[in-house]
Symmetry: C2
Subunit: 451 residues, 2 copies
């Protein structure tokens, strides 16, 4: 904050006050401030504390958060954003039918820069309106994802998907590495976009691909993100081809490090968890997608016991079918209780932690976002508890996990800019995005009829 020359007032751009502030941080003010306030100056948080501390702050914009919870923006640790355009295209099918008869034909006949750009915009609209301020994306035409994210002013951790077979975007894998390195160079200093390298999975990527990706990750200091052990079929493939478990295989290839993020990590042995813990591997869990595809469930409780960092993701809209982290929080907490046969597992505090500090740490952003602390970027959401389904309030964490909906998010800031106010996007044309999505879905429907 800057001091006003003519008075004792300190100046801020935005002041959010009167809400229950959940910092999720370890700062002196503790985690929950009953009558709290957060001030924002430029792109960062300049004050977090009790309402008494802001008497001398003058802000251009004041947001009254009475009856609301003010907290860090949620972080979607894994998605394929542009698949929003395939939402509901095929459900309740065996995995192979789903992939071969619907997803692959729909993708191969429709994907291009325009499709991915609008699909990402649609996804960003949904995510922002639902309180998600950062997303980690693996898809094709990733430069268009970055462009859409930038225009939507959303934070993105992005990487082009790489695999052995030719890509509709870059063609052969050698060009895929070139595309990725150019992508990294282009976006590495962007305030919102973090480039990464994202090989698809162990059954679609040969050892040489994974090793080369590991070198690029190391050379550029970027995250290495990959689907690991999502289904039993994945694990069986690795076992049959390499006679190893997934993480043994990855470890032997020398690609595991603190920059390594495993999406899903459902079918993992205790020995593999030891390797993961030792190497500092991070996990993004996607419970709703794993349930819907009947893939299984990730042993998150065991990961946390071993100190393995776990974040939360939604996966893409073809397998969930939304990008709603509030719904995901509810499912996450309940799934682990029933599976572990222990109602104390995955309590509400822990669950919220996964979607904020957990995802931030997994994505290498813990110095930037994930908590409300001074000097972190101002990625903040205001959740309106003035609703029958959030009344009365005994414990705000309980409501965030077990009762709140994405639609209860009232205001959203990313990097200090107000992107949602009163439940509406302030800087994007929602009607235009939905109209364009309708148009593109018409194209998808036609392509499926042909195939």
């Amino acid at each position: 904050m800057t001091k006003d020359k003519n008075s004792n007032a300190e100046k801020a751009d935005i002041l959010i006050k009167n809400g229950t502030v959940i910092t999720m941080g370890g700062s002196g003010d503790g985690k929950v401030i009953e009558k709290g306030a957060v001030a924002v100056t430029n792109d960062s948080i300049s004050f977090v504390g009790g309402i008494d501390g802001v008497k001398s702050i003058e802000a251009k914009t004041v947001i009254d958060a009475s009856g609301c919870v003010v907290m860090p923006g949620l972080i979607n640790g894994h998605t394929h954003a542009a698949m929003s355009l395939f939402r509901g295209i095929a459900d309740d099918l065996p995995l192979e039918t789903w992939l071969n008869d619907f997803i692959f034909p729909a993708e191969s006949q429709n994907l291009d820069d325009e499709f991915v750009y609008w699909g990402t915009k649609l996804a960003a609209a949904e995510m922002l309106l639902g309180g998600t301020t950062t997303f980690c994306d693996m898809y094709l035409f990733e430069d268009s994802v970055a462009r859409a994210a930038k225009e939507m002013k959303m934070r993105g951790v992005l990487g082009e998907v790489l695999y052995d077979f030719p890509s509709p975007n870059y063609g052969e894998i050698s060009q895929g590495f070139e595309y990725t390195e150019n992508f990294i160079k282009k976006w590495r200093n962007d305030p919102l976009i973090t480039p990464t390298i994202q090989p698809h999975a162990l059954d679609t990527c040969a050892p040489e691909l994974l090793v080369r990706a590991g070198e690029i990750s190391e050379n550029h200091g970027v995250l290495f993100i990959v689907h690991v052990a999502e289904s039993q079929a994945n694990v069986t493939h690795v076992r049959e081809k390499y006679n190893k478990t997934s993480f043994q295989h990855l470890n032997d290839l020398g690609v595991l490090s603190e920059r390594f993020v495993a999406d899903h990590a459902v079918w993992v042995t205790d020995e593999e968890m030891d390797i993961m813990a030792e190497k500092g591997v991070k996990v993004i869990t996607n419970p709703e997608s794993n349930m819907k595809l009947a893939s299984g469930w990730a042993p998150v409780h065991k990961y946390l016991e071993r100190g393995i960092v776990v974040g939360l993701g939604t996966d893409g809209c073809a397998s969930n079918n939304d990008l709603n982290l509030f719904g995901e929080l509810d499912t996450l907490a309940k799934l682990h209780k029933i599976y572990d046969e222990d109602p104390t597992h995955m309590d509400a505090h822990t669950a919220v932690g996964l979607a904020t500090v957990g995802s931030a740490e997994a994505l290498g952003l813990s110095d930037v976002v994930g908590t409300l602390e001074t000097c972190k970027r101002a990625d903040i959401i205001v959740v309106d508890f003035n609703k029958p389904h959030l009344t009365p309030v005994y414990d705000p964490f309980s409501h965030l996990v077990y009762a709140a909906m994405a639609s209860d998010v009232r205001d959203v800031l990313v990097n200090g800019e107000i992107l949602v106010r009163g439940g509406r996007l302030t800087q994007a044309d929602t009607e235009e995005i939905m109209a364009k999505a309708g148009e593109l879905s018409g194209r998808v429907k036609k392509s499926l009829k042909r195939s």
Copy 2:
């Protein structure tokens, strides 16, 4: 509809048009009418069909449902509505701690007619706003539940909970039977309220209680609703005390019939399912509550295979923690896929069926509600799909289960009256209800500090 004397127009009270109409009925118009219309005259549906069929209908109120789904109101097959006032009071605890240190003390020190009346109003507000038009309630001070439901103009299937120990409401069980019979006589001809008899569970109700309840159910022709086999502890209790399974025990007591509704029915053997099918027993499944309390999961797929009618419920707000049937639908579908290890199980159509026709049949209301068909009562909801998270649309059933939120419900009619319009209650004072809930929760907090 009535014919206008001076023209060829037919008169209706309300006409909902231009939406995608999902009838859930077996009538000639099929289940999904793309550009459809529904007309309401007095308390009933007077027309369902394509938009072309309504050219000659003149209605006092016309609701444009463009881009929306028009469907039967959802039916919450099992809840303890007034526990809305205990929402989030205690989560993530072992069952015994939860019950003995929080729920029982909170109930014993706070429950009275006023508390239950306002708690039910709060619950009704949440349910109506989320597209639930009928609820089945088991609680104490049930006459106040009926009074609140009537005032909120919501449909209710209601019964005072009965058990061996003295009740804060009626005292000894003999007075409980008297209270119940009076309750049945008072409400039996009400257009909105259906009285029932609801013993609590097999470990809290002696055989004599259950037998007497069975007699009352038979004499008055009312439903006999009871928690059965919710947890392993319940089943163990029955096994140890009677050396029988739950449904063997109930069958031997002679209380099973087509009027018998089993809430939960999680831990049930194949032999018990045969008894259930033979006797025409109905089931209400409550997946989110069963998950949150780590109770287990009901074998719904097996029930449906045997032709056992299954409806959907939320259970009370102390164990869920909301009354959101859209969230419940999503969890229902995903839970059964992962548990049965089959992504084709509990498809979106089947899931929506449980929350509409399934619950209606289980609650003996299939002649009255559950589908959109002429002559049924007009319990209708309009779900607004004009949102990023419901765009594009390939299959409306998919969106209802996997992407829609309770907050997407725009308009709600019960018994021909518009109770929600544009996402707001039209006939109840939401602010007053929430203020009263806040007041009563203050009382609860104090009582817990004392105990």
